[in-house]
Symmetry: C2
Subunit: 358 residues, 2 copies
């Protein structure tokens, strides 16, 4: 038997429910492939703030660093919304990404045939969408310095941030994106604002340079405003998108909504080496927390990404992916993706149904 | 008779065609309301580059500053795409905005009942969408300093830009947005990334402070990633949106595509005093330039905004707006908005049809 240690970060809101369900799915899929997991649950986000006074306790980060992979539920909630910056759950998440050096954030947006009607886009526009946003996650305006508050020459308050990219940061995310595009349909679209921003001009130049290492991948460039339009106009034109931290934040959320089933979408955050971080792209949904209404499938599919991208366990990953599809084919739906003719289930029951198909 | 001087900047691609048609509509609508225009055509963008070597010649800027209002066609094209930054058509546009100090960019996105089928969104999601994006246009990361290229501690190339806002910049755009929301449905949504960026934290604080001057307007705040999703999920929730330069660039383009008829959408850019700049939100469409295929309606509606917001001539503005609706009701459509059962016309014929209804 192979053994892996997984750090679980349930976090806030619906986080604990979806992690509980997913842990069981992961266990079973592993055991059927001769894999044994040891799980360690650690506090993070608002839960950690309440418990320890900080959103990412040192013990949590060091446990995460030692693990083979990390599975996160969701963080945040109204309760901590007015906190100062260093005491926000979100700050804990940024510290975790930085601490783990997971610079590559993979966000697939796929429209499953079973769920095409959940999209607000017309059926012929939505069906068949299958794209991957590769977002740079530990650089750019999220982390750039100088940043802060100050006073300008006129004695006025100012707030400022720095969008900055260095060659190696662009090169490494570009390589990840080219590798992914190569395994998909061989098309990479790099999104920037190179008609205005110097940081984007360097981005475009470096991505174009790295392209010579991947002659089998077709590279195109698009301005971010146009990309935001094209995702609505004709999302099927995209295979793999690579972009910076802030544009990736915006475009990946837009892309996920285009699928209409954001409760279904997983993500992976990977570094050069060290454990990867896996989490659903949806938030902590405090309004339905503790009511057994959450859709656990995005987290379950994040566990599949954990197996595939984090541990290289493709067979166990496939088991989970197929189990999710089976469960949908049988007609089981949580409230967020429910439509007439299907079976409405809660978070736990959805998890049990997936277990039956693993 | 009242007299106004208008600087026309036809620009590149389809720019000259749509400006030609619009000039005639503006003339007629004016004359029917006792208004006489004098027009001065000046080079700008790629056309100016070819003629004078710079994208915004001094003569163009000083003529524009002296005018009562400026009507711009479109700028840019493949020909100048590889130019260095200071020789790009886009740089001319940014210099024009800065030179005119037009800090408030108004971008309505409306789904006309006649064109609801052009949207890629389902009919029930698209119909009735009527929102206005108020974008800050002369600050933020577009103009912030320091910016440029450099070398970091490790000897690597870097590219960097500064997102910076000062109190007065936020206050004045917030006031414009509150005034507009007040004349619309009384709801203002301020979009930022205050969970991560200090520039956004100051933005949110100042917008909230200015809100006390407008107790009749309901203010809400939304993160930009969520806004990008909500525009796809349920665009009707929005009345007026106010946001910074770069987020406004992205979200206004996304919103325009949601209407499905980007060839219909005008914009206005206004300053504290001095002439406003009016232009369609679409680009220069070099692929169809000179073929009499362009849709002139976005520019014609920009002329209506020029009359309304630029000159305070509401009656003449209404004439143009109504003429456009009449023309659509009669079934005339350019290729971009054409569907079975309607009459396909070119740019000129569309202009002539609008003239008949002014
Ligand atoms: C919570 C927030 C800091 C975060 C981000 O902006 O990266 C989130 O929106 C995301 O995309 O994971
Ligand atoms: C052409 C470009 C510089 C411009 C911008 O980014 O502002 C355009 O996209 C716009 O929105 O008017």
């Amino acid at each position: 038997t192979k053994r892996y240690s997984i750090t679980l970060l349930p976090g806030d809101g619906i986080g604990p429910e979806i992690i509980f369900v997913t842990k069981n799915v992961l266990k079973l899929a592993g055991s059927l492939e001769g894999i044994e997991f040891s799980f360690q649950e650690m506090p993070m986000g608002g839960a950690a703030l309440d418990l320890t006074g900080v959103p990412l306790p040192e013990e949590t980060l060091s446990a995460a660093k030692k693990a083979d992979a990390i599975l996160l539920g969701a963080i945040g909630g109204y309760k901590w919304d007015k906190n100062e910056k260093h005491l926000k759950p979100e700050t804990g998440l940024l510290q975790l990404r930085e601490g783990l050096k997971v610079f590559a954030n993979l966000r697939p947006a796929t429209v499953l045939p079973q769920l095409v009607d959940s999209s607000t886009l017309k059926k012929d526009v939505a069906e068949g969408v299958d794209l991957m946003v590769v977002r740079e996650l530990t650089g750019g305006i999220y982390f750039g310095k100088p940043r802060g508050f100050g006073i300008n020459e006129k004695g006025e308050d100012i707030g400022f941030n720095t969008e900055v990219y260095a060659t190696h940061e662009i090169d490494r995310i570009a390589r990840v994106a080219f590798e992914i595009a190569r395994k998909r349909r061989g098309q990479l679209c790099s999104v920037d604002k190179a008609n205005v921003l110097e940081a984007s001009m360097l981005w475009r130049k470096r991505v174009a340079a790295i392209a010579s290492e991947y002659p089998d991948v077709e590279l195109s460039h698009m301005y971010v405003d146009n990309a935001a339009m094209q995702l609505v106009r004709y999302p099927k034109q995209f295979d793999t998108i690579v972009t910076n931290n802030i544009f990736g934040d915006i475009l990946s959320d837009e892309a996920s909504m285009i699928t209409g089933s954001i409760g279904m979408l997983p993500s992976a955050s990977l570094g050069e080496s060290g454990p990867g971080l896996f989490e659903p792209i949806h938030g902590s949904a405090p309004d339905i927390a503790g009511q057994d209404k959450a859709n656990p499938l995005a987290t379950i599919l994040s566990a599949a990404m954990l197996l595939k991208y984090g541990l290289g366990e493709e067979n166990a990953a496939k088991r989970i992916e197929n189990a999710v599809l089976d469960t949908l084919n049988k007609g089981f739906r949580t409230g967020d993706i429910h439509s007439a003719g299907n079976k409405l289930v809660g978070c736990k029951e959805m998890g049990e149904e997936v277990l039956k198909s693993v």
